[in-house]
Symmetry: C2
């Protein structure tokens, strides 16, 4: 759990565990110490004249809370009905393991690996950390690659492979309002004292309009509209509202702009959400206080061509301007990243399409994704290599939520697809990116 | 800490501790078991022909959280600059102890106690519990009294005694909204999924109008306006806005209806506050989820002649009607009580005025109080006796907040005033209430 300093040692243990696995697989391996969590690098014996595939992934996970909603403990992997349940099963330990098994299969088969393979598995993806840049930045030649292969996006559904060609960016901030020196007795001070919980409710209660639009001036600046072809292709990707609502256990999907198709809202429109909210007494029973502090975590997902810095300032300006003068507001910024787009007709992406077709018996859908993988923009730009997002998880894998799972069939199909991809890449003549 | 089931044993220990003190004082004592926390009763040897004073108080306290704001541990009483700091120091263990010491002084002086004294010290005041009614209800004759003496209201300030003739009532509820089966990844679902934190912010963000009025139709039904005389007397009681803001560490007092005098807002107008708020990820760092549950505790203080049941229904109807149909709302009700008023020219209250003048050298102010003591309405009605609210705490004692304190000078003056009150009551001919 990379976000919680109390788990620093556990994160290190996960890196060491991964190193052991790479060694057993027959790869050279090195743990890079960073100012944050370690990065695990592993590589096959370099061969000349073949392309290099850099496989990026992460071994860190989201916090498992709320614990009482897990049917089996989050850190005791449990198989039920063909699924492996555990925090990180689908995001991203399972998919990383599929790639490792693909390389192991090549090695054990006795055949030469058709490409040079280098793994970069980091421990700060879930916190948008930048420690990976500390190990890549000073020595980008070492990490030279013809393609950056990533399995951290979903398939379209069971048996329906997908290649993701666009992911959203993100800004994330924590907003704190303070209204008094301490919590106050709600009888003695009720009718006079300011209430921090009311201030934050009024502040955040105005963020969205009834039609789902974000009510912050400048929030949509530079949002690139979909081309007509993209919009048609989005609508073609099947999306069943009833199934979606059943999957998430909800009655409606009011979370975005009503005027757009659900797929467009999910993949190609910016969003704003409250991720956490706390103020005053949250324990069992009744406590009659007026809270003096309220805190919210809010984040936005960004699309091309929004600028994370501009969205951050826009949000901050809005919150400061709407906060009543009697409340003290402070804003702490966490991760931010711009969105990332790749062209589907890049040769290394076409190779992924062929690999998936060989394993799943059908061509992949080309999709975009609502999530963010902040480090990918950096890697792609620094290594001058296209990002190939070929995911093996399912949309209902409960990422970041209780009862995260990974289908074991998808694990095996993923490993096969990865092995095929390495072969397909081996057929592409080296040097395209030189 | 009576509200937390985990502290049930600690509450019992406090009752046993109190029993020991009563025994050492020379009073008969009995612990009444109830369906909730025990009630401690103590009494002097009954004498005929003298009035009976029932001294009501409570040995339970509010939760001490947030712990990190206490300068000394909440359950290790610490003296700093003439004040005793501890949870319960002023609310209500210190004032109860002052009465015990007054009775002890009479007994040790060798003189006869001028009245019959009976203590009823309960363990559920802070949760609005009703266990006290289980021991009084079946046998009200046993608790016959000519006056019910209570020290659970403040003085006007240092050296300024006060008698409280009105306290507010209360309703308290917990509101839960649920929007999905589990927390969801804010990337994969942002733009679609409902967000429980946004729902509760929008719901609670509309509770108050800009002028401080509660925005709930029917909320002010039956509110009794102040008489012109009362209003004049409220305005006469000194109230310094600058000092108030300094005491609570705030920049303004926007918590009530702007059109009324601060004292009227604090004592004689109903209020609505959020006491607690929680949703989603509240830990350290960033977690990118869309919360599926949000929970708020809200409470209202009531004045004559508001009906708690009507206010509860009004609030509940409002919240249900404003909750969007895609969110599931549930409402759990906690304590409720109507307000209580007594007439200042009741003989047993005049006796308290004389006692306070003897000790403080000045007559008491007649004030009202913003807080609620739900059980007092019950006791007064059941025992047909007036409630005498003669408090020894100060407005800045940090009740229900970190660093609760009680001034040791006030403790001694309180004990003297209590001793004088028993003498003054002894002079009143018995039988007024028969």
């Amino acid at each position: 759990v990379s976000t919680d300093p109390a788990h620093k040692k556990d994160v290190s243990s996960a890196a060491s565990f991964l190193k052991e696995i790479f060694r057993e697989t027959g790869l050279a391996c090195r743990i890079h110490k960073t100012s944050g969590h370690p990065v695990v690098e592993a590589w096959s014996p370099p061969r000349k004249g073949v392309p290099t595939v850099l496989i990026y992934g992460h071994y860190d996970v989201q916090p498992p809370e709320p614990l009482d909603e897990w049917l089996s403990p989050p850190f005791e992997p449990t198989v039920r009905k063909g699924n492996l349940y555990a925090r990180g099963a689908s995001d991203d330990k399972g998919p990383v393991m599929a790639h490792i098994k693909a390389v192991e299969a090549w090695i054990k088969s006795g055949a030469l690996l058709p490409v040079n393979v280098r793994f970069l598995i980091e421990g700060e993806e879930e916190i948008g950390g930048t420690s990976l840049t500390e190990c890549v930045g000073p020595n980008p030649e070492r990490f030279h690659a013809d393609a950056i292969l990533v399995s951290d996006t979903p398939m379209l559904g069971p048996g329906k492979p997908a290649i993701c060609y666009g992911i959203r960016g993100i800004v994330y901030m924590e907003v704190t309002v303070r209204t008094a020196a301490s919590d106050l007795h709600s009888g003695a001070h009720g009718g006079l004292a300011p209430n921090a919980a009311i201030v934050i409710a009024e502040l955040l209660g105005k963020l969205k309009r009834k039609d789902g639009k974000v009510n912050v001036p400048g929030f949509y600046r530079n949002v690139r509209p979909l081309t007509r072809r993209e919009r048609e292709s989005l609508r073609a990707a099947d999306w069943d509202p009833k199934r979606y609502l059943r999957e998430i256990g909800a009655r409606a999907f009011p979370g975005g702009e009503k005027q757009y198709h659900p797929r467009e809202r999910q993949w190609a429109r910016p969003t704003l959400d409250i991720n956490g909210l706390v103020s005053g007494f949250t324990g069992e029973g009744a406590k009659t206080i007026i809270p003096c502090v309220a805190r919210a975590k809010i984040s936005a997902r960004l699309v091309p061509d929004q600028d994370p810095g501009q969205v951050e300032s826009t949000l901050e300006d809005y919150l400061r301007s709407k906060c009543p003068p009697y409340a003290e507001i402070s804003i702490r910024k966490f991760e931010s990243a711009s969105s990332l787009m790749v062209s589907p007709d890049t040769p290394s992406i076409e190779a992924a399409g062929r690999a998936l077709r060989r394993v799943f018996g059908r061509p992949p859908a080309f999709i975009r994704e609502g999530g963010s993988i902040p480090i990918l923009s950096y890697l792609s730009a620094t290594l001058h290599a296209p990002v190939v997002m070929m995911g093996f998880g399912r949309p209902d894998d409960n990422l970041h939520a209780p009862n995260e799972k990974f289908n074991l069939g998808d694990f095996h199909r993923g490993a096969s697809a990865s092995a095929c991809y390495l072969e397909e890449m081996g057929r592409i003549s080296k040097g395209r990116n030189d």
